[in-house]
């Protein structure tokens, strides 16, 4: 261990008394170096405080979010009076109050904005992430690789946390190891055979969008007659599948049109879908589904209200939201919320769409009611609004102390990094309980770069399996290059000897290509595409394998990827599943955690559904087509600005090597 106090040691007695452990050169470099903090939330607030107290002078901080009351239990630089204001801006002001000599620049903006190019990143000696979503992490990872600036990455969820250091050429980058993707549920589970509350919640969110929001072909709520389980033989299933595609869901009108035609009559909705009667009765005719499962029990509006009402007593000592109502209660809640949402829609005018938001009470009421009614239909125990909100909103529980510990570790790693002591740098895991070797904080050696990494390898390459006759260019851009491979603005050309341009990042240039199939361009088995993201200074060669045998609901597969993991807990640290990832998805991000058998802990993306004060973009999910948002069109400066948001991911298992 190198001794930091040698003959050239100079004692600081005045200004930097608490930097006594630092060599003079290091202490000096702290005051002159420039660092970037990406995110001013839970980790960000703690990190800014630690940085200035340690002696860092030049700090830039960026966050696109505004302050919400639920942040106040841990984001201590904010007070109630700041709710609605820019996090980066208020954080800066609060820090200056106890350290007026600090030089802080705040940006209320998305780090994915092309203004923050490689030259911007090169201004800094160190970048520290304090993020909560994978898309931004991927992006910053690439920018730091491109600029060759060390990056300290971190994450927390509940009691757990993790810190690691990324340095081009010396350590793994953030994308060297494939990360388990967001857990999604097959369409037939959502539409026909839900078996868990989460399936009903996802269904309810889909229903919201079908009725009030942006309709999406991947978010169907009506019974799925193309469900492979329904038919006895494959020919039958295929016939049904074709039938439904051709007629647009078997002669049913679109859910929204139908709803509009009834004037959004809650009773009619209730009895139809939607819900709860006609569509269920239709499901019952698909008798194969119910051979081994308990059959759903349809609900009828009038019948429910004739039942003796089992009213809840005064809710006692729990939170109001933690009550579980009865069927009548949820039927009434359904009724009220539909009426409120209907008025909201009317107010917005012709062609209006609502965006689901967990902090918008009628929207949350609607999902709570619809999900619970469906749970009841399928004989599941119903859930309180509190629990439904957790699952529907992908809420990650969070506390101040976990963030405080992680932010402390970040600065300690930062000091080593500035000294270029990369061999001293570590990945450090924070566990909830000590491991068998008594460690609560587990430092592990950093891994060298993965030579086959599709991001940091010298000539990154991947192989993707898809159906060239069924994949459209838009899907290649949105689902594969952006969502899967983390590009923000891809340019794609075909390696066909002619350099045919398939996708241009310039708005409008290749729009005509969007709905064409890849095969229309002569792309076939073995074709190669060159995809570039100039902002990220990233080129990826994509080898295509044509396949007609992909599973249902699977549009593509990356060959050589680790399989999607849902590790079974052997000794779970907490009984609950931690919901994480996926900011805007209608799909949830439940995951079970690998046990901390020895030193495994999971870095977590804590992606909440944003509140109405921050939300601008429409909800997205890994399963449906993504809306492209141009940040320049965001008119209201006080709201959250964002470019394409990608759904964040699941926990990753990391094995400690210590």
């Amino acid at each position: 261990m190198r001794c930091y106090l040698d003959e050239s040691y100079t004692i600081f007695s005045t200004i930097y008394a608490n930097l006594i452990g630092l060599r003079k050169e290091l202490a000096d470099s702290l005051s002159s170096c420039r660092v970037l903090v990406v995110g001013a939330g839970g980790i960000g607030c703690e990190l800014l405080k630690n940085l200035v107290l340690t002696g860092f002078k030049n700090i830039e901080v960026i966050d696109l979010d505004t302050i919400d009351v639920s942040n106040l239990n841990r984001q201590f630089l904010f007070q109630k009076k700041h709710v609605g204001k820019s996090k980066a801006q208020v954080a800066k002001e609060s820090v200056l109050r106890f350290c007026p000599s600090a030089n802080i620049t705040a940006y209320h903006d998305s780090i994915m904005n092309p203004d923050y190019n490689v030259e911007f990143f090169r201004n800094f000696q160190l970048v520290m992430n304090a993020l909560d979503n994978r898309a931004a992490r991927n992006h910053v990872n690439r920018m730091c690789l491109a600029a060759d600036i060390p990056l300290i990455e971190s994450g927390t969820a509940g009691y757990l946390g993790q810190v690691t250091v990324i340095k081009k050429g010396q350590t793994e980058c953030y994308e060297c190891q494939p990360k388990p993707t967001q857990k999604t549920f097959p369409g037939c589970t959502i539409r026909n055979t839900p078996s868990e509350p989460i399936h009903c919640i996802v269904w309810a969110k889909y229903l919201f969008n079908q009725l009030f929001g942006e309709e999406d072909a991947d978010q169907e709520v009506s019974p799925d007659t193309a469900d492979p389980e329904v038919a006895w033989n494959p020919a039958d299933a295929a016939a049904r599948a074709t039938a439904s595609n051709k007629d647009g869901d078997i002669k049913r009108v679109s859910t929204k049109e139908w709803a509009r035609s009834t004037g959004y009559d809650p009773v009619k909705l209730f009895n139809k879908v939607q819900l709860f009667k006609d569509d269920i009765m239709y499901l019952l005719t698909m008798d194969k589904l119910w051979k081994k499962r308990k059959a759903p029990l349809p609900l009828d509006w009038t019948e429910i209200h004739q039942l003796e009402s089992s009213q809840e007593e005064a809710f006692g000592t729990g939170l109001k939201d933690q009550q579980v109502l009865g069927v009548q209660g949820y039927a009434q809640l359904f009724h009220r919320s539909v009426e409120t949402l209907r008025s909201q829609l009317i107010e917005k005018g012709e062609g209006a769409e609502l965006v689901w938001d967990k902090d918008d009470p009628p929207a949350m009421d609607f999902v709570t009611a619809a999900a619970n009614l469906r749970m009841n239909v399928f004989s599941m125990n119903m859930k309180s609004r509190f629990d439904v909100k957790s699952m529907a909103g992908n809420i990650i529980p969070a506390i101040a102390t976990t963030n405080a510990v992680i932010a402390g570790l970040i600065v300690l790693e930062a000091l080593k990094t500035l000294n270029s002591d990369f061999d001293q740098c570590r990945t450090i895991f924070l566990n909830k309980q000590p491991n068998p070797r008594k460690k609560l904080l587990v430092p592990c050696a950093l891994d060298p770069p993965n030579p086959n990494c599709y991001v940091c390898a010298s000539k990154p390459e991947v192989t993707v399996k898809l159906n060239v006759h069924k994949t459209i260019v838009q899907a290649l851009q949105d689902k594969i290059l952006k969502e899967k491979f983390g590009m923000v603005a891809p340019d794609v050309q075909i390696e066909d000897g002619k350099g045919t341009i398939l996708i241009s990042s310039e708005e409008g240039e290749t729009e005509a290509n969007n709905n064409k199939f890849l095969s229309d361009f002569g792309i076939r088995n073995g074709s190669r595409l060159q995809a570039d993201d100039f902002l990220q200074d990233y080129t990826l060669l994509v080898n295509l394998i044509h396949s007609e045998e992909l599973e249902k609901d699977v549009e593509f597969e990356v060959v050589g990827d680790a399989p999607d993991k849902a590790p079974a807990p052997s000794v779970p640290e907490e009984g609950k599943n931690i919901a994480n990832g996926n900011k805007d998805s209608a799909q949830p991000s439940t995951s079970s955690k690998a046990a901390a058998e020895d030193d495994d802990v999971l870095i977590v993306d804590s992606d909440e559904e944003p509140s109405s004060s921050t939300m601008e973009a429409s909800p997205e999910s890994s399963n449906r087509k993504r809306k492209h948002h141009d940040a320049d069109t965001d008119a209201t400066a006080s709201k959250r600005k964002r470019l394409d948001q990608q759904p964040a991911d699941d926990d990753e298992d990391i094995i400690a090597l210590d």
């Binding site: 261990m1 001794c3 930091y4 004692i11 600081f12 007695s13 200004i15 008394a17 608490n18 006594i20 452990g21 703690e46 405080k49 630690n50 107290l53 340690t54 009351v69 639920s70 106040l72 239990n73 841990r74 201590f76 109630k80 109050r97 106890f98 350290c99 007026p100 009691y159 000592t317 939170l319 809420i395 990650i396 529980p397 969070a398 506390i399 101040a400 102390t401 976990t402 405080a404 510990v405 932010a407 402390g408 570790l409 600065v411 300690l412 790693e413 570590r426 924070l430 309980q433 000590p434 008594k438 460690k439 609560l440 904080l441 430092p443 807990p569 907490e574 009984g575 609950k576 599943n577």
Partner: protein, 351 residues
């Protein structure tokens, strides 16, 4: 905004809308019961330097009923730069008093009070009005005294300090600390005919959990610091014993002898003394000086802010756990080495 400090004392079981909104993300982690217990707890925090400020922040954000900040020292430029609660123009004021305003603003729902007396001057019954006591920058004798008098009254006692890159916390939750742990519910497997080996395994339902009650006992600080290393059992466990334990003994002795912690101003003199104390302390214990190599001297001056954050985070969470009686407490020391990034929990004292 009628609520907050005008709440009735004692068991009030209703969580207000404001609390529910503000504490939402932590209620979702440790549950409503735990939050209510926190909300009924009064804590004494002694010492408002780097570590103290971190603990204060963590407890206030968590939503305890009351937090008393006790410190008799005055703000100096050095102490002001060590923490984030004291305003820039507060030099010369009492440290706790200067921290009050910012501390209160962290969470108006907590009653934050100030006491400017020296903790040594406090009579026994002063401590009895609290549910938990957290001592930082205190002498060994004072800590032992307070621990003895509090633990018997079921007042939870915590000690902690940061010395340069190193930090520790100690807890004494009494002879019988009761708590609950949330465990996944074990459900019986289904009666499918062809279960095979699966049938034998008890199925764990990931969505349902149950609360399991547990009890655990702690020894006193005195016992923890006066381990007999001469017996064979203790000797054989030396290999797995963190050197930080002995470092702590050295630093506590230094504090007792000099009435202060090692200062950068007197680095040469203090480092000499530290080495001497190391030799004395280890010799008295019947142990070799090699257990604590000379290099330790370089890393234990002053309080490193990031180390305060780490130790303050762990310590703060232990206090929250103890007051809320939820989740297994660390037993009974936590040592953090900021150079290695390692944090270990270890037990010293009678089993």
């Amino acid at each position: 905004l009628a609520l907050a400090l005008s709440r009735p004392r004692g068991e009030d079981n209703i969580i207000s809308e404001e609390e529910a909104a503000q504490y939402d993300r932590q209620i979702r982690l440790w549950g409503l019961d735990a939050q209510k217990r926190l909300r009924g707890s009064r804590v004494l925090l002694v010492g408002l330097r780097g570590l103290g400020a971190e603990v204060a922040k963590n407890l206030i954000l968590a939503g305890v009923k009351g937090l008393t900040l006790l410190d008799h020292e005055q703000v100096t430029e050095e102490s002001r730069r060590a923490q984030f609660l004291i305003p820039v123009d507060a030099d010369g004021q009492n440290q706790a008093q200067a921290s009050l305003e910012r501390a209160q603003l962290l969470n108006p729902m907590v009653e934050v009070k100030v006491d400017t007396d020296a903790v040594e001057s406090k009579l026994d019954d002063f401590f009895f009005r609290f549910d938990a006591v957290c001592l930082t920058r205190c002498s060994k004798d004072l800590m032992v005294r307070v621990d003895q008098l509090c633990a018997s009254r079921n007042i939870k006692v915590f000690c902690g300090d940061v010395y340069g890159y190193h930090g520790y916390m100690f807890s004494d939750l009494g002879q019988e600390h009761h708590y609950v742990e949330e465990k996944p519910k074990v459900v019986k497997g289904s009666n499918e005919a062809n279960d095979g080996p699966e049938a034998k395994k008890r199925k764990v339902d990931p969505n349902e959990t149950t609360m399991v009650k547990k009890t655990i006992s702690f020894c006193s600080l005195k016992e923890a610091l006066e381990v007999d290393w001469t017996n064979e059992k203790a000797k054989s466990s030396l290999k797995r014993t963190p050197a930080d334990y002995f470092l702590l003994q050295v630093l506590l002795k230094f504090r007792t002898d000099k009435g202060r912690d090692p200062q950068p101003d007197s680095f040469a003199e203090d480092s000499q003394l530290l080495l001497q104390i190391r030799d004395d302390v280890l010799e008295t214990m019947g142990l070799s000086s090699e257990l604590l190599p000379n290099t330790f001297v370089s890393y234990c001056f002053s309080e490193m802010a990031p180390v305060c954050a780490v130790v303050g985070g762990v310590l703060g969470q232990e206090i929250v756990k103890a007051l809320s009686q939820r989740d297994a407490p660390h037993r009974n020391f936590f040592f953090f080495d900021g150079l290695k990034g390692s944090g270990v929990v270890d037990y010293f004292g009678s089993k």
